[in-house]
Symmetry: C2
Subunit: 336 residues, 2 copies
């Protein structure tokens, strides 16, 4: 009989954590004991897994030596508080919060840089990158072979669920208030989110960059192994519950061979290329799916060295929970 593993999920009651538990079940991940952890607020609640209800416990009281692998799917502060305790207990870490430096826990998307896993030392620490970097890396990885990419311009249109449960409730509440002509309340977002677009996700530094955008540039270069890649990025918040979309324009050293691009995308892992003339949407295509959808593959209006794409991806699945479980699947092959 093949081996199974004791596992912990920190943040198991959250948007990402709940999906992560579902995906462990869906993909028949070889789980022996599953420990679900969160804050004192939801300790005592339970989450279904393989037909049983698993009780959620407080992370503060958890003995990490009980498990081989822990997923950190709470905020960065929680990762920073417990990662070294987990690591000292010999536990492998897959972090989804972006809190750990790349030197300590490299960002990995299997479709782009799975080879990095082989070089890791125990106790293993890896990071699942931001949903934007993940979606872009999945799609650009197979294009590295057929294009000489000079610059990536991206406007990332992010779902509110990227900011967790409170953001989701606020979009729903604001929308209902507006439709019912009631006064609008903003508590989570700093202004009206319903029927609007917000140009800034997070707090900007003195140069006007927000951490999410800086992180995307760094992560994308790492994932693609292209440290000198120029990346121009704007992350905006869209009034969409689930599913990120990306308007991407690549500048290339030479005119695009569209047939080669389409063939590379068709052959790429975790990519669904929609028919020419059509385009995917976050809500209609990406949500609930494991692949990144690609459409509107075209040259510039009169620039053959420009390649434009539109991507749609489930920020909670491939953008977080699914990528983390895929990393775990690779780790258990020969590294745990």
């Amino acid at each position: 009989m093949s081996q199974s593993f004791d596992i912990a999920v920190v943040g198991a009651t959250g948007t990402v954590g709940e999906t992560l538990v579902q995906i462990l079940e869906e993909r028949s991940f070889p789980v022996a004991d599953l420990h679900l952890l969160a804050s004192s607020e939801s300790a005592g609640h339970s989450v279904p897994f393989r037909g049983k209800n698993v009780r959620v416990r407080e992370v503060d009281e958890f003995d990490f030596s009980k498990v081989k692998l822990v997923f950190f799917a709470a905020g960065p502060a929680v990762t920073l508080s417990f990662a070294s305790k987990a690591s000292s207990a010999g536990c492998a870490i897959i972090d989804l919060s972006g809190a750990l430096p790349a030197g300590q826990a490299p960002q990995i998307v299997p479709e782009a840089n799975a080879q990095v896993l082989a070089g890791l030392e125990k106790p293993i620490q890896v990071s699942s990158p931001s949903p934007s970097a993940t979606a872009l890396a999945v799609v650009l990885a197979p294009l590295r072979g057929v294009l000489d990419i000079q610059r990536v311009n991206v406007t990332a249109c992010l779902a509110v669920s990227a900011q967790g449960r409170e953001a989701v409730s606020e979009l729903a509440r604001q929308t209902a208030e507006l439709l019912n002509l009631r006064p609008l309340e903003s508590t989570f977002f700093d202004r009206q989110m319903a029927f609007n677009l917000l140009a800034q996700v997070g707090k900007p530094d003195a140069q006007g960059h927000v951490p999410l955008e800086k992180r995307l540039v760094t992560e994308l270069r790492q994932l693609l192994g292209m440290p000198a890649l120029k990346v121009s990025v704007t992350c905006i918040q869209a009034p969409v519950f689930f599913g990120d979309s990306f308007s991407v324009s690549l500048q290339l050293a030479a005119p695009v061979d569209l047939a080669a691009v389409n063939a590379a995308l068709e052959a790429g892992d975790s990519i669904e290329l929609v028919e020419a003339g059509d385009y995917p949407t976050a809500v209609g295509d990406a949500v609930g799916q494991d692949v990144v959808y690609v459409g509107r593959v075209r040259q510039g209006v009169d620039d053959a060295s420009e390649l434009n794409l539109w991507l749609a991806s489930d920020n909670v699945r491939k953008g977080a929970a699914l990528n983390a479980v895929q990393l775990a699947e690779l780790l258990i092959k020969d590294q745990l």
Copy 2:
């Protein structure tokens, strides 16, 4: 006493036409007789102007020799049907539909290329460009003097009102259906518009380009007088009722002098630059206003020759009705 003019508005019952009539009143345009025209469907309705109700008539039966100036604010087909009749009657034309070729009716945004007006022959025909080209031209015009712009990358996030009244009703109806867990109906849009983003506005050609995007490239080059400017564009449909937003990234021949950029924007006509660290939104800032809002002015994350901006503009006002009235104000100075 100063002169006043007999004027006609074709499409007076539409999103743009109604606002145009309001703006004529707001800006005390010297109107003598106002003729409001539409299809047989709304002939007989009336529209308020300066405290009176003006009755709407059918355009088919209108004698254009009665007026000095006509605004065409119905669809392109209506412009194409009646423009030559109006012109033969000696009437000046301001077209908002994009139907007339640039050689016949040049695109003009006063803040960018007002000088083109002086060269026009009678009977005058001018076009008010697409809302996207107009907003971009207003903001890029004063930057021409301080930057050597090599390429403009833009993702234009368009309000549904850009597609008229039916699109507005459909977003409202779909949103209510979803919030009330009723089945979703799409009649105007080809899929779910509420809580979603659509990557394609209009029907693409074999190369994947939609007319709106091709038009934006052509118009922007004309308005800025930069025929060789590289423009990379994606127009998406956002679930926003009124107000367009633009994620813009400029590539420059040299590192940006941000102080000079800010000074040029501060001094630019019809521009409102928001404070550093803040950003404007379509709904919260632009709608109902006469200026194009600019925020998130910043260099690339690590590229000083990249300038990023976020714009928000009222697609119906500066994007259409207001720009057209501004053109009329210039024409009546010495050309009508």
